[in-house]
Structures are given as C-alpha cells and as structure tokens.
C-alpha cells in the first residue's frame, strides 16, 4: 500500500509539472500579448517595451521557463502583469471562494443525484422513472452558463428571491452579526452552487440509476427479496451499498468537471473565484496568473483523483490486496 501511495504521489507531481510546462509553452506561443489595454486607447510602445523588460519577457523562452521553474521551487508564483500584486495573494483570495462553490455544488450533485438515481432504479420503467429520466437528460444537456443565466433571470430578476451575483451583500454584510453573515453567504451561494450542482446531479442520477439496476438484478438481491425483506430495505440496505462503489470513481471524475464548470458559473454569477480569475487572466495574457491557476487546478484534480483511489481501496478489499 505504501509503495502504491508513493508511486501515485510521484505520478501526481509529474502530472502537475507537465500541466505547468504545457500551459507555460502554449501561453507564450499563443497569439496576443500582455499589457495591452482592454480597448483601443493610445498606447506608448516605449511603455510596453519597459513592461516586457521589467517582467523578463524580452528574454528567450527557455530562459523564461527555467527562471519560472526556479521561482516556483522557491515558492514564488510571481507578480501578476495586470493586477499589480503577487499571484499568490490573488489566488489565496480566490481559492476559498472556488472551494466553497465547488464543495457546495458537489454536495448537491451527489446527494440529489444519488437520491434521484435510487428512486428511478426502484421504479424503473414506470412513469416517475421516465419523467425524471427525461428531466435529467434535459438538465444534463443544458450548457451550464445558459442554465446560470436562466436561473439568474428567474430567481434574481423576476422573483427577486436571491441576489444577482456576488459573495455577500456589499452594503449590509459588514454590519451583520456572525450568524447573519453566515446566512448572507449561504443566500449568495444558493444560485451558483444550485446551478452547478443541479447540472452535475443530472449526470450522477443517470449513472447511479444504471449502477443500481445492475445490482438489483444480482442473485443476492433476489435472495433478500425471497427472504421477505421489505423492498425499502432491499434497495437501501443491500443494493445501494454495492452500487455505491462505482460512485467513488465518479467522485474523482466530478471534481475536474466542477472546476471547468465553475469558470462559467463564476463569470455569470460574478463569483470571485479561481475560474473567473483565470478566465480574465487569459484574456489579458496575464501569464503568471494563468500558469499558477492551471498548476493549482491540476493539483486539485490530481488530489481528487488520488482521494477517489484511496476511497476505492478502502471500500473494496480486493484492490488493497491486489486481487482486483
């Protein structure tokens, strides 16, 4: 087990290094250049040249790459071209917001997806199953940003039940007691996490339905029914436990999808997370921010996958012993 863990961690480091390298090279080779204004306003080429020189962009690419790796090894992610501040500071502000959003969305996705999948499997091919199957297929097919805009329009503008974007109420938040602040944050989290979680839950439900249907056809389930156990106990007590195993793999796969989905949801809901930070940095060709964000996202995905593997090993003894 220890050797396996060491191998996995080494592979994880190699993957993150590969992500950094590919991002660095592609960014520098891609058309477009940093330091340009967002719109056409007169720009002094001398100002641009001095900025390029200041950030070392006038050096050959291999030299820039070597210097970047050296600085990363020292724990220095560099200075943002556009934000006039250390990249580490910008990421440190954005990361908690993204983790909050992705964490809440993950909870919604798995709890709702699991419940729907089990419900559908238990009532397979009946009206409820067919209706939910169509509904989840629809949700799964909807682009996340479109869903976000729709939700914002209905619940933010028309019904006015929830705020239109942001993390907290900009006027009242500071004046609230701690419980009020928590409530305020949850109130702002509801729509973005709901959007991201709902789209994910649709996919999870379809996956879980298939897994449950497979398990419900097994001999031991038939035996449990033959013993006269109530159907509720058969489904939740016997079938569900075994149908949860592939679910762990899905957990590992869900995290990257949540991160990519978060880029769009954070933009639509003005949520100041990593996705929005990275998207804006890409448009501005803010190389240090994009590379650091890619490194962090890559690290989180690798970590999520590692966690899923560990959970899988814990859940299935055959994997621990190498029998599987």
């Amino acid at each position: 087990m220890t050797a396996w863990l060491v191998r996995r961690v080494a592979a994880a480091i190699a993957i993150v290094w590969a992500v950094v390298t590919v991002t660095f090279v592609l960014l520098h080779l891609a058309p477009g250049t940093p330091f340009l204004p967002a719109a056409e306003t007169p720009v002094d080429p001398a100002v641009l040249q001095r900025l390029r020189s200041q950030f070392g962009l006038d050096r050959p690419l291999p030299e820039q790459y070597a210097r970047y790796l050296r600085e990363i090894a020292r724990g220095n992610l560099g200075e943002s071209f556009a934000l006039h501040r250390p990249v580490a500071d910008a990421l440190a502000e954005a990361l908690p917001n993204t983790l909050t959003l992705a964490g809440a969305a993950l909870c919604i996705e798995f709890v709702l997806g699991l419940a729907l999948g089990v419900y559908q499997a238990a009532r397979a091919r009946r009206l409820g199953d067919v209706a939910l199957g169509n509904a989840t297929l629809f949700l799964y097919s909807v682009p996340t940003f479109w869903m976000g805009l729709l939700v914002l329009l209905v619940f933010g503008q028309w019904l006015r039940w929830f705020p239109v974007g942001g993390v907290v109420d900009v006027v009242t938040h500071e004046s609230l007691p701690w419980a009020g602040r928590v409530a305020d944050r949850l109130w702002h989290l509801a729509l973005p996490a709901g959007t991201l979680g709902l789209v994910g839950a649709a996919g999870t439900a379809r996956f879980e339905r298939a897994a449950m249907l497979e398990v419900l056809g097994q001999d031991y389930v038939r035996t449990a029914r033959a013993k006269g156990l109530p159907e509720r106990r058969v489904v939740l007590g016997h079938a569900l436990r075994n149908a949860l195993l592939p679910f762990v793999t899905l957990f590992g796969l869900a995290f990257p999808f949540l991160l990519t989905g978060a880029v769009l949801v954070e933009t639509v809901f003005a949520w100041p997370g990593m996705g929005r930070l990275a998207a804006e940095a890409i448009f501005r060709r803010d190389y240090p921010v994009v590379t650091a964000a890619a490194m962090l996202a890559g690290g989180m995905v690798v970590l999520g996958s590692l966690l899923a593997d560990l959970l899988y090993a814990a859940a299935d003894p055959r994997i621990r012993t190498g029998d599987g």
């Binding site: 340009l36 007169p42 002094d44 001398a46 974007g165 009020g180």
Partner: protein, 561 residues
C-alpha cells in the same frame, strides 16, 4: 417517542420555515441608524475592476471614476468640456492661477486642502507629482501628455510654477488634466520602479471628497465621504462599486434593484430593458468613443509596401461611397449613436456636422470601380482586375457584439458592389497585437478618446502615430501640417475649430476609413438620487453634488457600517 399531539411538519413547510428564519435573521440584524441629508449609499454596478488606484498608473474607465473621488487635480474641466484656454476650467486644488508669461503658469493652492492623513497639500506635492509622471521608472501612460511641460517647481508651500516648452492652445489642459496630485510624504520612500506593486495602489490616501475604505478583489470597492472635505461635504455617505465580469450581469443587478447606478448601459437592448424599470432614470450624455472601418494602407504584415488594394486612394474612395452609414447605424444602434463627420467622438467640442464627407452613392462607387478596371466576373459577380479579385478580410474583436454586427452588414453592402469580404473574428488581445503590427487588410476599430482632439488625432492619424496607434499607416504630410496648425492654432476657439474642420475634411477626401458611429452613452441612476449631473468626460466627476433627500432614503442608505 413522539408526544401525542406533536405537530408534524411536512418537508416543504420545514424548508419554508428555515428560509423565513434566515431572512428574519438577516433583516433583524440590520442596524438602521442614519437619518438626514447625508445618509445616501450609492451602489454602482460595473463590468470591470480597477487594476491600481495609483493615479499615474490608471488605465480603465473605472480606475478613473474611482480616482476622481480620491485625488484632485489642480483644476478640472468645466461642463462644456472645452479644452482650449483656461476660461472654462473650474478650480480644485488650486484656488486661482495666472500666466506669468506666455509659457509660465502659476497656480496658487487652496490653503484648506488636506491629505486624508491630516497633512496639508503643498506645492512640493505638485512638483513631486510632475516628476513622478515624467519618470520612466514609473512608466506612466500619461507621460506623453505632460511632455510639453519642461519643469514644475514650488515657489513656496502654496505656489506651484509650470514652465512649458512652447505656447499652444491646450497648455492649461495638459497641465491639469493628466496630473492628479500625489502625496509626496507617503510615496517618496517607495522606490519608483516598485510603485506598480506598492500597497498604496490598493489602499490609497487621497485628498478628494471621498476616502478609501476597502477593496475586495473581484467583489467590491468602498469609499466613504470625507465630511471635512474643503470644497464641501459630499451628500452621499457611502459609494460602493460592485464588480462583475459581464455587462449583462451588471445591468441585471440594476434592474433587480441590487445596484443604484451604472456608467454606460451599452447596446440599445440594454437601454430598452432599463427604460421599462420604474425605479431607474436614464441619463444620456455625449460619448467618448467613435468606431470606423479602417483600411490598411500598407501591405498586410509588410509596412514597406503599399497594400495591393487599399494603397489606391480612388479605390478607397469607392469603398467609402459604397457604405450606407445611416442605414447601418439604424440597424445597429437605433438612435443611440450618430454618424460622425470624421474621426470624432460626440464628446469633442470640435464636433461639426457641417464637415464635408464623401457621399453615400453606390452608383458612383460602382462607376469608379469600373473606371479603375475592376469589372464583375461572369461566375460569381465579384469584381476582378488583371486576374486579381476585389476581395479582402475585415478583422473584428470577438468581444464586441456591435462591431461584429457592423462587420456582417458591411459584408452585405460590399457584396452589392462586387467586393468580396470575409471576416476575421479574433480575441481582443490578438486584435490589438495584429492591429499594432499591421497584420490585417481592414479592421473595425473603436477609439476611446480623451477630451481633446489634439493628442488623440495626432496619435491615431498622423506620422507621429505610426508604429503606435496609427494602425492604418495613413500618411499625408498635408494632413499632418493641418493637424499641427490646429493644435498650435492662434486666434481663439472659432479659428481653431475651423482649422480642425479643414484637417478632417482632407482626411475624409483621402478615405483611409469609413467613420461608422460615434456613440451616445446612457447612464442609469436610481430615481431616489437627486441633483444628478453627469460630465461627459468623466461621469462621476460631480458625484459629490449628487444627493438622496431624507424622505427618499431606503434601507441600504441607513445601514451603519
């Protein structure tokens, strides 16, 4: 074991109770205190965020809007936005000024002016600021704007003396507009080459009507009124910018009553959407942007050779005459913009609808093309000459819906006269890079100009701008001479305006571009805000005079921080 008469709530009722509880908690927790005439809170929705609040490093419109509240100029542009002479300028840090001679300007500072840490604003601050703006280590984009000033010195603590290299009509404008005065005692200890990342840029101390409170990246920036401001206490107590990455979300916040104001609503659809909202009032004002279809006069990617098509002046004239600019404008903007008489935004005081332009005349354009040897081919109707097709590409940025719409309509109009147009839709960063490098046939550009034509036209349309903002490589010594004459003109405002008109008419005859639109900005502000005055060059320049009468205060105005 459940009590016999226990009430069992349904799940939906439980959810409803929970939501109600949360809302009550939030509502009850608000301490509502402020009353009177100085309680207003203005929440501004904005698509964008400042990069720094250090005045020499301001770039975007939102940077300037925030900075206008924090840092004063010596004098400010008047409501006429006239930039010639000094008669329309309003005193700010300087209570008065006089000309010692034709190239020496003396400012007398208002002795009441204070930095928000309590120190007096002095002439040393003014001299220090000029030195900083001029220092290559600071790398200020405004450095070019003050290059005509040779020195700024402090005669005494309240007298600053500006010396110019030459005499010209916009000397006063150059002295006061670009230069926001900086606190020398706070910035001097910071090495100039580290100013761009200095903490001061994210937590500034100013001398304006508002003081800095907080800035949460990606979320909000808050200022609070300085009740001791020497030019008069601002009425609005708190001003908060809400940052969103997208204009549509900003507009939705406004419509949903979660913001009070927005600088520019943008496309006509947004204006229509907000017009239907009863709590909002629209404020149209002259825009600083003009858009044009520009022809690259040099070969695509090789500035040493003329463009095979657009190097021909007569061909360009035919392409200008083929465009029905009024029809395009109606399709894209409705009544939210005007067809400009040249490279001019509505903001400029030289705007003159009587300026001569090439007429829209497709018949004449077709005849001219035929005369030049461009004849329709038999198979697809596209004109050809000596085996070459009349075909070119128009580059537009993907982020501008307006320009993409224009590009498609232009494609159709050019098809009608036998010109084949393909579109290159590219990312904004790529657009600007290719434009600067001359790697395009034609492009649709939109210039956001400062209030004076002198620097903007010189940088965009004369030899001075080649390699910088003169993307089209338009070179005409006669035009350059007229611009120089207009910029350094004598004889007052009317004569200067005539000189500009003459220059622009020559440019129009050379047809390096089709001037498509000069937009009108429309701001929206909540109806409870009174005395809203918008100055076209800087929409929040007069914010300190806006107010919310006591009887119109709503919950968010009363919240104590």
């Amino acid at each position: 074991m459940r009590a016999p008469h226990a009430v069992r709530t349904s799940p939906s009722a439980t959810v409803r109770l929970a939501v109600l509880g949360v809302l009550l908690l939030v509502a009850c927790a608000r301490r509502e205190g402020c009353t009177g005439d100085y309680c207003g809170t203005l929440v501004i929705a904005t698509a964008g965020e400042p990069q720094s609040l250090l005045p020499p490093l301001l770039t975007a419109a939102v940077d300037q809007a925030v900075s206008d509240q924090l840092f004063l100029r010596l004098a400010d542009i008047g409501r006429s936005t006239n930039t010639v002479g000094d008669e329309d300028f309003q005193p700010q840090l300087a209570e008065r000024w006089e000309w010692a001679d034709s190239v020496t300007l003396v400012f007398h500072l208002d002795p009441r002016a204070r930095w928000q840490d309590g120190r007096a604003v002095t002439a040393t601050d003014v001299a220090f600021s000029f030195d900083a703006y001029n220092d290559p280590a600071v790398n200020s984009p405004f450095r070019a704007g003050v290059r005509a000033i040779s020195a700024v010195t402090a005669r005494d603590s309240l007298t600053a003396v500006f010396r110019f290299r030459k005499r010209y009509p916009e000397m006063f404008f150059d002295a006061v507009f670009h230069l926001r005065v900086l606190p020398a005692h706070l910035l001097r200890p910071i090495p100039r080459d580290q100013w761009s990342s200095a903490a001061f840029g994210r937590k500034p101390v100013g001398d304006g009507p508002y003081r800095f409170v907080s800035w949460k990246a990606g979320e909000q920036l808050e200022l609070a009124a300085d009740s001791t401001f020497f030019l008069g206490r601002p009425h609005l107590r708190r001003v908060i910018w809400r940052f969103t990455p997208d204009l549509q979300v900003a507009v939705t916040q406004l419509v949903a009553d979660q913001a009070d104001a927005i600088e520019v609503l943008g496309p006509p659809d947004n204006v229509k959407r907000v017009r239907a909202v009863p709590q909002l009032t629209l404020y149209p004002y002259r825009g600083a942007t003009y858009g044009y279809l520009g022809f690259n006069l040099a070969a695509n990617g090789d500035s040493s050779r003329p463009h095979p098509l657009f190097g021909d002046r007569e061909l360009r004239r035919a392409l200008v005459m083929a465009v029905d600019r009024e029809r395009l404008l109606q399709n894209v903007w409705g009544d939210a913009a005007k067809v400009p008489p040249g490279p001019e935004p509505q903001l400029w005081w030289i705007w003159d609808p009587e300026t001569r332009v090439l007429p829209h005349d497709t018949a004449q354009a077709s005849r001219l093309l035929t005369r030049l040897g461009w004849r329709p081919s038999d198979h697809d109707g596209v004109r050809e000459r000596r085996g070459n097709r009349l075909a070119f590409r128009i580059m537009v940025p993907t982020t501008s819906a307006i320009r993409r719409q224009y590009a498609r309509l232009l494609q159709e109009q050019y098809r009608a006269i036998g010109a084949e147009v393909e579109l290159d839709e590219v990312e904004p960063s790529v657009f600007l890079q290719r434009a600067s490098a001359g790697r395009f046939d034609a492009l649709i550009a939109a210039w956001n100009a400062d209030p004076t034509p002198a620097s903007s036209i010189a940088q965009t349309w004369t030899r001075e701008g080649v390699g910088r903002s003169n993307y089209l490589r338009y070179l005409n010594p006669a035009f350059d001479g007229l611009v120089e004459r207009a910029s350094s003109g004598k004889g007052g405002r009317a004569a200067t305006q005539r000189a500009w008109r003459q220059a622009i008419e020559l440019l129009n005859q050379d047809a390096p571009a089709v001037f498509l639109y000069a937009s009108e900005n429309v701001a929206a502000v909540h109806r409870r805000v009174a005395d809203v005055t918008i100055r076209p060059d800087s929409w929040l320049a007069l914010l300190r005079t806006w107010r919310i009468p006591a009887e119109r205060l709503i919950d968010r105005d009363r919240v104590e921080r």
